[in-house]
């Protein structure tokens, strides 16, 4: 399952911002880092791929399915079932414990039921990230690194072919940065998933298969 972008254009007229991506193709199992200065459109590209924003021109397709052809409802459902989202500030729900945060996306996804098998799957992922002993603990009682691992578990539970991560290590200390990224990459590589990550941290770039510099508008392969 590949991710392909062709002739993409998106702009915020009032801010004079224009994002243009002539072509970008990401293969299954590939990890790509999006880098560039603030305002270069990294997060905007992530939101376009996720179907949160709608391009003015061009196409985005996941495994041949044109995201840009889908209606708002279908894009939302596509996002719920086919994409895992990870955010800089984790965006966990504080009133839920670890288990319920991991199962959150599954609860919202159409046609997905919380079965014992799915719960076991969640436990397996959490165990892989070393948090199983905190299964019913409130997320407010977890450290920053642990919270981001919970967010990673939530993003991967429904086995999405594409994982979109917006500065996933931005709020973490160096030790946790490395650990979370290693876990994320291992889980994505193991599932043959595409990992598209926005990052400002150049020390992490060698870990990615490819780095795309947004400031150059054209994709440049550096690795």
């Amino acid at each position: 399952m590949s991710l392909e972008i062709e002739g993409l254009r998106f702009s915020y007229e009032s801010e004079g911002f224009v994002l243009s991506v002539p072509q970008l193709k990401i293969l299954p199992g590939e990890s790509v880092a999006l880098v560039g200065p603030s305002g270069s459109g990294k997060t905007t590209l992530l939101n376009l791929v996720a179907g949160i924003l709608y391009p003015e021109r061009g196409t985005i397709s996941v495994d041949g399915q044109l995201i840009s052809d889908l209606g708002a409802r279908q894009r939302r459902q596509h996002r719920l079932c086919k994409m895992g989202m990870i955010f800089q500030s984790f965006e966990l729900l504080e009133y839920l414990d670890l288990r319920d945060n991991v199962l959150l996306q599954a609860r919202l996804a159409p046609g997905v039921k919380i079965t014992p098998a799915l719960e076991q799957q969640a436990k397996d992922i959490v165990a892989e990230l070393g948090l199983l002993d905190k299964w019913r603990r409130p997320v407010t009682a977890l450290s920053q690194g642990e919270r981001q691992r919970v967010a990673v578990s939530r993003a991967l539970l429904l086995d999405p072919p594409v994982v979109l991560a917006d500065e996933p290590t931005g709020n973490l200390d160096p030790d946790n940065k490395r650990a979370v990224l290693d876990h994320l990459m291992a889980l994505c590589a193991g599932g043959n998933r595409i990992l598209l990550t926005v990052t400002h941290d150049h020390s992490l770039l060698p870990a990615f298969d490819r780095v795309v510099d947004m400031s150059e508008l054209l994709a440049q392969e550096v690795a």
Binding site: L80, M83, L93, L104, R107
Partner: protein
């Protein structure tokens, strides 16, 4: 939908303290005005019923309200004193039979009402078990007294001393319960009925003691002056009237001057009642005769006015509470804007987000409404007795 309710329930559980305060406040301001309305209406209805069944009451000069409440509810703490001779005077008019009431004493929390057998037929009271009072010292108890004190026929009830420090005061009298009244849902359920003479024994106006004319009592007699004997303190006084010592009980003085609290004139018709009223109002300044319905209606006017003020006050508080609740919900939604954003980004629909956000408001409103409804039901059932105790204590 079940998953959304589950998530909503987790939110509610996490914020239970805040939501409980809100629920408590909304429940209270929803329930209070209705409760006051119910209690006041029921109280008014019951007070008027009782007053209507007792059109006239005669007592010592003083507060007509105190006299009415005392003779209808036996709740006056220190009832004004009326001579028993007034009973004869009322009957001498030929307009009514006179039912004496003496409700100065208590057995624990319940008034002891000294009266005549006419009282029971006047009120239409039925015996649930046992028989009416026949002898001095016997008691018939109301259904509530029997229930609360777990008493029945064959048990005893003891009058409470007025003051434990007053050595010359009222001594406790142990009285056998010979009957239990069927529930009448009136103040009679919460009273202990005895013959009026028994209340005089409780007061110490009558007593029984060892026979001083016995051969063995010679050492107890200090002085003999004709029929008058002076004895020393070793003479045993009886604190219970039994068939063995009944004969020894006697009263010192003229019964006519003994005290009672009030008289209910039982007139055969309205004309007789009106004539009695006119006669007493014109000729007697040393006693008062009151139309209890009018007195109670005046009391209720005051109660209704107070109720209206209270309801207006609560309405203002209710408006303030509603504004605070709206503010809390608004702030809560503001605080949850990040959560809404997250849910939207991971793919939740607008409807899903709205349902999740609405769970809190719906839960608070539904639970408050349910609690208020429950409290209103309980108020309808039990509020009246609570209010009466507050009003008449």
């Amino acid at each position: 939908m079940g998953d959304l309710f589950y998530l909503g329930s987790r939110y509610i559980s996490h914020h239970r303290a805040k939501l409980l305060v809100l629920i408590f406040a909304i429940t209270l301001v929803s329930w209070l005005p209705v409760a006051i309305q119910i209690i006041v209406d029921q109280t008014a209805e019951q007070l008027l019923d009782r007053a209507e069944s007792t059109p006239l009451v005669i007592g010592a000069p003083g507060s007509p309200l105190e006299l009415s409440l005392g003779s209808l509810y036996f709740r006056a703490k220190t009832p004004a004193r009326l001579d028993y001779s007034e009973v004869k005077k009322v009957e001498a008019t030929g307009y009514a039979r006179a039912i004496p009431l003496y409700y100065r004493f208590r057995a624990q929390d319940y008034p002891i009402v000294g009266t005549s057998p006419d009282y029971f037929s006047y009120r239409g009271l039925q015996m649930a078990s046992g028989r009416p009072v026949a002898l001095l010292g016997e008691a018939v108890i109301g259904s509530k007294v029997a229930e609360v004190m777990s008493l029945g026929v064959g048990d005893h009830i003891i009058s409470s001393p007025e003051s434990v420090f007053d050595l010359a005061g009222v001594y406790p009298l142990k009285m056998p319960v010979v009957g239990v009244l069927a529930a009448s849902f009136s103040p009679d359920d919460e009273a202990v009925f005895v013959d009026v003479k028994t209340t005089w024994v409780i007061q110490g106006l009558g007593h029984g003691h060892q026979d001083l004319n016995r051969q063995e009592a010679v050492g107890q007699v200090l002085k003999r002056e004709g029929d008058n004997l002076v004895a020393n303190a070793s003479v045993r006084q009886f604190n219970e009237i039994t068939s063995d010592n009944l004969e020894s009980f006697h009263f010192h003085g003229d019964n006519a001057s003994f005290p009672i609290s009030a008289i209910i004139p039982n007139a055969p018709d309205e004309k007789s009642a009106a004539l009695l009223l006119g006669q007493f109002q014109e000729e007697r300044e040393d006693v008062q005769i009151v139309r209890s319905r009018r007195v109670i209606a005046q009391l209720l006017d005051t109660v209704f006015t107070v109720r209206d003020y209270i309801v207006v006050g609560i309405a203002v508080v209710a408006i303030a509470t509603a504004i605070v609740a709206l503010l809390v919900f608004y702030l809560s939604l503001r605080l949850r804007s990040g959560e809404r954003f997250t849910l939207a980004r991971i793919g939740a629909s607008r409807l899903q987000v709205q349902i999740l956000m609405a769970t809190e408001v719906v839960f608070v409103l539904l639970l408050s409404a349910a609690l208020a409804a429950l409290l209103i039901t309980l108020t309808r059932q039990y509020g009246i007795s609570l209010m009466q105790q507050l009003l008449l204590a």
